[in-house]
């Protein structure tokens, strides 16, 4: 018998062009709550998917109670007693709690195939009571709060007799009181003999629950420590402590007059009380954890998701932005995070994509003018150095970096003052990244005001003049470039400070 219920050795997982996990080790003791930590994109989610059989690793071995196992699909993992509760609950909102708990392993009478409703309801009730919850198993899943849905997911894990339970950021959407309940349930599970892998961005979760913490960074295993062995500072360094391995281009140009003043902007349920200013030629970094409300704030400025509180003053004039068309007319452009879904028409040529947001300027009383369209497309595609043969090449045939350049070129068709870039280097290789940084700096020196959303710390610090850190729908800190460090940003974005009941 092994000392560990679960042991992974040298796990490597590669996706086309990306090494998502690089030689990762992990050891889970029975009855342990084990925290798994790391920045956005450190490889935690991929790691979980390897354990639960969603992804098969390219290299490495996995042992369950000392016995070597290989999962080819999630069912294999489930049969071996591994259950995962994901960050975004993946339930059936229109079905009852009981149906959600027993989905995939319903109690069925032999021969007739009849579903044993009463037995299932009773069992569901029993499990929920054991978790200290009074949820009615017959109620509709969608009518429950996020916290309650999470409890149902845990009940589901118990009903499959899971011995290893993985919780992926379960507290992200919970209030502190609900989190407290979840802690108790988690401890209960541990006391009943389950081993738990707990992923969270919150330090308080980790200190409250875990006895061991393992850190991943840049797809690699960094280390594993007992919770008393490591200080808060050392842990942060372990999470971010890479050298800045990108050279950020020199900034030219000066910061000019005030362009934009956002005052008390709010949208119920997404963000509140967001205030900041942006100047000509300035790059304002907007960072924070995924889900902190960064994208929502920017989409509000762009009219995709109209705000319901606060004011926006643009070039000294108070404006109300209700649609993207209006935003573009007022001089605000937005480069969406998901360029394939939101930014580009993949089936179209480079030229058509570039001209799409400038059709009214290209057209003459509504008629398309090919010559003008092609000339503008060519000029802008060359300006951002798109690598292709002609402007008639399909965007789907380009690499991620080149697609992103097309998306940037598209913004430049309009007469903009402000450009919002949402994760501009996401999914882009190193070479193209530098090219995109170069373009961003070039734009800033031309006098555009730039808001850059990014989760990558070195990028935010290397590129921005000022950095606004968001947490739970609020801007918690605005740092000047001179004093910004990764540690300071991470601390602001993770630690529950005074805004305990934000959002």
């Amino acid at each position: 018998m092994s000392d560990y219920v679960l042991e992974l050795k040298g796990i490597t997982k590669e996706f086309p062009g990306v090494r998502a996990l690089d030689n990762v080790d992990f050891k889970l003791k029975p009855g342990q709550i084990h925290a798994l930590m790391g920045e956005n994109g450190a490889g935690k989610s991929t790691f979980i998917k390897v354990i639960t059989g969603v992804h098969a690793p390219n290299e490495g071995e996995m042992f369950l109670n000392g016995e070597r196992v290989e999962f080819s699909n999630p069912n294999d993992a489930q049969e071996k007693g591994i259950a995962a509760i994901y960050q975004h609950v993946t339930s059936y909102p229109d079905l009852s709690v009981t149906e959600n708990i027993f989905m995939g392993h319903e109690r069925i009478q032999k021969f007739t195939g009849r579903i044993l409703w009463k037995e299932m309801h009773d069992e569901a009730k029993k499990i929920l009571r054991s978790l200290g919850s009074s949820i009615d198993p017959k109620s509709e899943m969608g009518a429950l709060s996020v916290a309650q849905q999470q409890i149902v997911e845990i009940a589901k894990a118990i009903s499959t007799k899971a011995k290893i339970i993985i919780m992926d950021e379960p507290t992200a959407a919970l209030t502190s009181r609900e989190s407290e309940e979840l802690y108790k349930i988690t401890e209960n599970l541990r006391d009943q003999g389950a081993s738990i892998i707990f992923i969270s961005h919150r330090f308080e979760d980790m200190y409250r629950l875990a006895s061991q913490v393992t850190v991943l960074r840049d797809s690699k295993y960094i280390g594993s420590w007992g919770i008393e062995e490591i200080s808060n500072e050392d842990l942060i360094i372990a999470m971010v402590g890479r050298e800045i391995n990108q050279v950020f281009p020199e900034r030219k140009g000066e910061i000019g007059e005030k362009l934009l003043e956002v005052e008390g902007l709010g949208k119920a349920g997404y963000f509140a009380d967001v205030s900041f200013t942006l100047h000509k030629g300035e790059i304002l970094g907007l960072t924070g954890l995924v889900g902190a409300g960064r994208t929502e704030v920017c989409q509000s400025l762009f009219g995709i998701m109209p705000y319901d509180k606060g004011s926006i003053v643009l070039n000294g004039e108070k404006v109300k932005i209700q649609s993207p068309k209006e935003a573009i007319r007022l001089g605000i452009g937005y480069l969406p995070e998901d360029r394939q879904k939101q930014g580009l028409v993949l089936q179209w040529s480079i030229g058509r994509n570039i001209s799409l947001s400038a059709l009214s300027a290209i057209g003459n009383k509504g008629w398309l003018r090919d010559k003008k369209e092609f000339a503008i497309a060519k000029e802008l595609a060359e300006k951002v150095h798109v690598k292709a043969n002609s402007i008639f090449d399909l965007v789907s045939s380009l690499s991620g970096g080149n697609q992103q350049k097309v998306a940037v070129a598209k913004l430049l068709t309009a007469e903009l003052d402000i450009i919002i870039l949402d994760e501009p280097t996401k999914g882009v290789d190193v070479g193209a990244k530098s090219a995109i940084y170069e373009i961003i700096n070039e734009l800033a020196s031309q006098g555009y005001g730039i808001i850059m959303i990014s989760s990558e710390m070195p990028e935010v610090i290397g590129m921005s003049d000022r950095i606004a850190v968001m947490r739970a729908g609020r801007i918690v800190k605005i740092l000047n470039r001179a004093i910004a460090t990764q540690e300071a940003i991470l601390e602001a974005s993770m630690t529950d400070s005074t805004e305990k009941n934000a959002g």
Binding site: P336, L368, H385, S434
Partner: protein, 348 residues
Amino acid sequence: MTMEQRTLDQNEYVQRTLKNKQEFSLKKFFLQWEWLLILVFLLVIVINTSLSPYFLNAAGLRDATMVFLDKGFIVFPMVMIMILRDIDISVGSTVALSSVIMATLYNTLNVPMGAALVICLLVGALCGLINGLLIVKFKELSAVIVTLATMILYRGIAYVILEDQASGNFPEWFSFFGWGSVAGIPFILIAFTILAIVFTLLLHKTTFGRQVYAMGNNDTASRFSGVRVDRIKVIVFTLAGLMAAITAIFLASRMGSTRPNVAMMYELDVIAMVALGGISTAGGKGRMIGAIIAVFIIGYLQYGLGLINIPSQTMLIIIGLLLLVSVAVPKMKVNWKFKKSGSKRKLE
């Protein structure tokens, strides 16, 4: 930074010139769906001629064209609707409602025929406008459900107005729409040609048409690009209603009267023509010219089959099969290409 990366970066900065003239590819030119349609069209003519000696008769063809062209008007906006990945099955009912209102205004309420015509067009456009507004306001409802509801609704209103009666006795001049000709060419064919040109230009040569294609390919990206997606959708559906009203005028003129059950199943014929014309139900693809050729294919096919006394039930089978083949063939073509190139790119 490694050497390798540095060279890569430098390459990125090398100023490259992009061509802005499209290379002409003969192969690509002839691989277009429309050529296949022209082939099918010729095939229909050849088979019909060999089966019936009466087919290639100028007067006969002329009359046949006047009969099937009336629903052709609805094909134009339906092309746009299907490029938008939507569908409108209420157009047949819109034809009935607008023609019934026109006839009732003239016969019962003594409204002058000219004014009745204008109101007919307005009623049709209003029907389409309602469809469009419902579809953009209730995003969770698909166009097929919304227009199914209004299909029943509009037909129902037509029945309430006229019950099961016919209404005719139009003024003499009104028959010109259905029966008149200019210089030997039927007026309906002239009208069809003019509108075909207008809609072809609208779809392929204007910024409006470009935005329709953009929405059909990627609705979200279009919105992020500042395309007023809701507005465009409402306009397209309104055009469908307007064209249905034009069909109503030609139909009532040819028949000499109208009743609430006219233009039954027109929507299906129209959708069949559009699909055969190469407009993908997945949206974003296809051209106006294809659908226009398809109007004539289905029209002459029906006429030819009628001449050799094939019962209308059998005709349905033939047209159904033609449609199935026409939507399956492009998929087979893609599959074949896919296998041949050994490409790992997933098909949509």
